[in-house]
Subunit: 293 residues, 2 copies
Amino acid sequence: MTASDATWIAADWGTTNLRVWAMSASGTVLAAATSDDGMGRLARDAYPAALDRLTADWPRVPVIACGMVGSRQGWAEAAYTAVPCPPLSDNLTPAGDRTHIIPGLKQASPADVMRGEETQIAGFLALNPGWDGVICLPGTHTKWVHISAGEVVSFQTVMTGDLFAAITGHTVLRHSTAAGWDDAGFAQGVEDVISRPEKLAARLFALRAEGLLDGLPDATARSRLSGLLIGAELAATKPYWLGQQIAVIGAGTLAGLYVAALAAQSAPATQVNADRATLAGLTAAYRRWKDQT
Amino acid sequence: MTASDATWIAADWGTTNLRVWAMSASGTVLAAATSDDGMGRLARDAYPAALDRLTADWPRVPVIACGMVGSRQGWAEAAYTAVPCPPLSDNLTPAGDRTHIIPGLKQASPADVMRGEETQIAGFLALNPGWDGVICLPGTHTKWVHISAGEVVSFQTVMTGDLFAAITGHTVLRHSTAAGWDDAGFAQGVEDVISRPEKLAARLFALRAEGLLDGLPDATARSRLSGLLIGAELAATKPYWLGQQIAVIGAGTLAGLYVAALAAQSAPATQVNADRATLAGLTAAYRRWKDQT
């Protein structure tokens, strides 16, 4: 089979990228394409053309989409589903003449939202039926998700990646954390903040001062900063992961850091391929949509 | 007396501004001027002209300067003095033909540095002889300084202002914290993080989510963020301020927030005018320099 045999298109449409896959009815990937036509650079009326441009060589078949395309600033707002609930809603939001958007999830208290991760969660659960535990989805805004009996019971967002970028790009630490990596520095950062979380605010400027006074290498400062922020995240989310079965869904390096930090807390976690989870989730959504129509 | 009677010039030369005062021998301000010729925009050979430009109408008298002008990227590096020590060193670093730079302070462990604040501390102690306790100097990089018997015993920098600017300017919270103020939001932020410092990382994204789901006003989100960060600073510096006499040296609004946050922890603090402390410190340094020459 080739892309011309596609019966539907899977789309992961986030803030910075649009990724599409030409899919067979059984969920086989026939072709894939990516563009930088993310939500961040598209006006509302530009979405149909962005999609058609990227899929021009494929059949004009239904599209199942997840991600920020369904946000208030996206193509069409797909209203959040409230937890506790299964990760996938039966109510997809139509956009244009052939696209159906998976809604995100919301939590009333503490207030929280997700868009896109619900599809990865659904995909992981489709690949691991009956799985209970906690899923961590690292990213700009990392999600911690409590799963029980196939439902999202509760979740917690921690903006660690966003903070790391802002601190290394826009504070005095930009002079001390330019590049490089040092596993021991990362481990020390995690340990420092897990053992004394109330000291976090005092440990950041020390990265700069140790650079000035002791010649602390940038790679160590950068890694320790990452450890401090991920350690602070683990301290804040301890009620989620302590004593639970844990799956980390994410791309290689970042997900690996979470697995390492959790392992240092005697909390073993399984790392799961993010793209595989996304595609499995979009496929599950497509099948349910197909069954309804 | 007028500026033409000046016998020396006081200079507070920081990263963004150069501020100068024409001074009488007895420490009276005869005239003042400010420019944006801070360290951040001056190449090393541009310092003399920047100084001469701003003081062109005054007598060409000795200049006593404090601040980033003495950093490695400044006019001439004034090597740090190691604590414990009095805030003012007798060894000023010469720059050009008439300028003398007050060195900053350094601490070996935990590694820390200050430049400029040592002069405000000296000024405060000159105005309050025999004072013992803890001085807080709020700013981009807030300093907490333990004073005993006229010496700086130890100090701790917390980069709260730098973090606040990076978070409100360069993370997703920029959409939710644009402007405005709400005292109750600030107080809640301080209380939230002081009572559960390990939860800090989990409270930041909630400011965005409450905006999306509950219509949390930007002013409340911005104030609560400020409270969370200052609260995290107070949690980290508790060994400094708990049970101590506290002076907060700083400009109105920001210093007032620290005084309010400390008061909520039953730690009353006295607010001290920063410019008065700076000038008293530069005057003390001038007198000691004059006595040596």
